[in-house]
Symmetry: C2
Subunit: 269 residues, 2 copies
């Protein structure tokens, strides 16, 4: 949301956080796909011109099948933009070594491996599940905390030993620790995240469909929906966004179970 708003400040953005059922990173493809299907069905009632699955786990596990099911919607994710920017960061090397840290479910899906190997057949891809990082960040811990440093050192050591060229942060939470991660892996490793690449990808899709709002002097509206009405969300939202945001609207998971199923209507942009 921060990257999308920075790239396209005039667009209205509706953010949906499934706070009642998070985290997704330890769950199965069937469960995550069911949850994301409900959320997209809900978002569709807002008439979006585009839907971004702004979560690596949900993209890895659910995007391919939901793109087929919701053929009337334009939907994109974060894996393809992330893989593109990782391969670019690998430079001209024929065998760049790309490390990726992500949730257990994202790693197990092998979605990043496939997306990278389509672009650079001989890239070496090192995948490492780092399940503690999301709870560490959600607890509000930051780079000054010795436990954060220890967790990162433990997770990154095997990747550092194998001399990676690039480290891709394969979870939308991890950029909050980007500075410390860069310090630990050293200056020979380029640390990248997919947020900006994802925002550019969305901008390009809207532009080629002639749907981009241009030149409007009014900033776009930002609205958040959440499935659990917990005090945690507001605290974390401003931490991620870097600015304060209006209180989220609560949507009960019950309401999600009542949403109509996907009904393919027209071709996606």
């Amino acid at each position: 949301m921060r990257a999308l708003h920075a790239a396209m400040p005039h667009e209205d953005i509706v953010y949906f956080g499934d706070t009642a059922r998070l985290p997704y990173g330890s769950k199965s493809p069937a469960t995550v796909t069911t949850f994301v299907r409900q959320i997209i069905a809900y978002l569709r009632s807002h008439g979006p011109k585009h839907v971004v699955i702004a979560c690596n786990t949900a993209t890895a596990l659910a995007l391919p099948s939901l793109r087929t099911e919701f053929a009337d919607l334009s939907i994109s994710g974060v894996i393809e933009p992330g893989a593109r920017v990782a391969v670019e960061a690998g430079g001209a090397k024929e065998h760049p070594c790309i490390g990726i840290i992500a949730t257990e479910a994202t790693v197990r899906s092998r979605a990043y491996e496939r997306a990278i190997h389509r672009r650079r057949h001989y890239a070496r891809v090192l995948l490492r599940p780092t399940p503690l990082l999301v709870p560490i960040i959600e607890e509000g811990r930051d780079a000054r905390d010795p436990l954060v440093r220890l967790a990162l050192e433990q997770y990154l050591q095997p990747l550092i030993e194998r001399e990676m060229d690039v480290l891709l942060l394969g979870c939308t939470h991890y950029p909050l620790l980007k500075g410390l991660i860069a310090t630990i892996v050293g200056e020979n490793v380029r640390v990248i995240d997919s947020a900006e690449a994802c925002a550019q990808d969305v901008q390009r899709r809207l532009m080629s469909a002639g749907l981009l709002r241009g030149g409007k002097p009014v900033p776009g509206a930002l609205h958040c929906f959440v499935t659990d009405d917990s005090p945690r969300f507001a605290r974390l939202a401003s931490h991620f966004l870097g600015f304060e945001i209006a209180a989220p609207t609560w949507v009960s998971p019950d309401e999600l179970y009542g949403m109509p199923a996907p009904q393919p209507l027209r071709q996606a942009i």
Copy 2:
């Protein structure tokens, strides 16, 4: 489940793990109550003679209201047995100091404070949310891991400084780290968990209702249901139980939304 099976080996036990929507410890009372209501409605179809909410967060947030709603069922939790054993461990002191580590939601509910103060009006109760411990244990880390020791030292230091007499492990995951916790707090602090007290409480309830199976030479059957069909569960289940268990049966969250609402029929035992 381990403690119940140890105390009453002839009883059949049906265990329900809401793996699609866990963890509960960071979520709101409304969300947790909705989830637990669905699960109890599901379990009722198995005709249980008793239902245990074997989770501190769910007990703290949902037991009082669900006991009223499901007036036809006998339901108990883990907070009251835990508070009882904590007060007993405080000995004859008029002002025992009882430390409790638990999830954010359990701490916020103040359920333990109320349960302890009903028994020992002048007890000092120190509550500390320890949200990383569940993900640390679920990742399979153990007491030999320096990160586990660091996390425990950070969380326990403020309690140690205030000279507690008793430390209650207020989450059903934490007993897996009991040995290390006891080492860190030192021999002057009694470290206790509610599992055995909870099992004794259930046994007493069944006995006084004349429902306890006795003298039967056949061991009781153990059956697990889960809402997410993930490989994580089997690994963790044997870790918690100390023995292997048959594969769990998958119940989709969709199915839970179709369960009939509570219908009070007869008085609880």
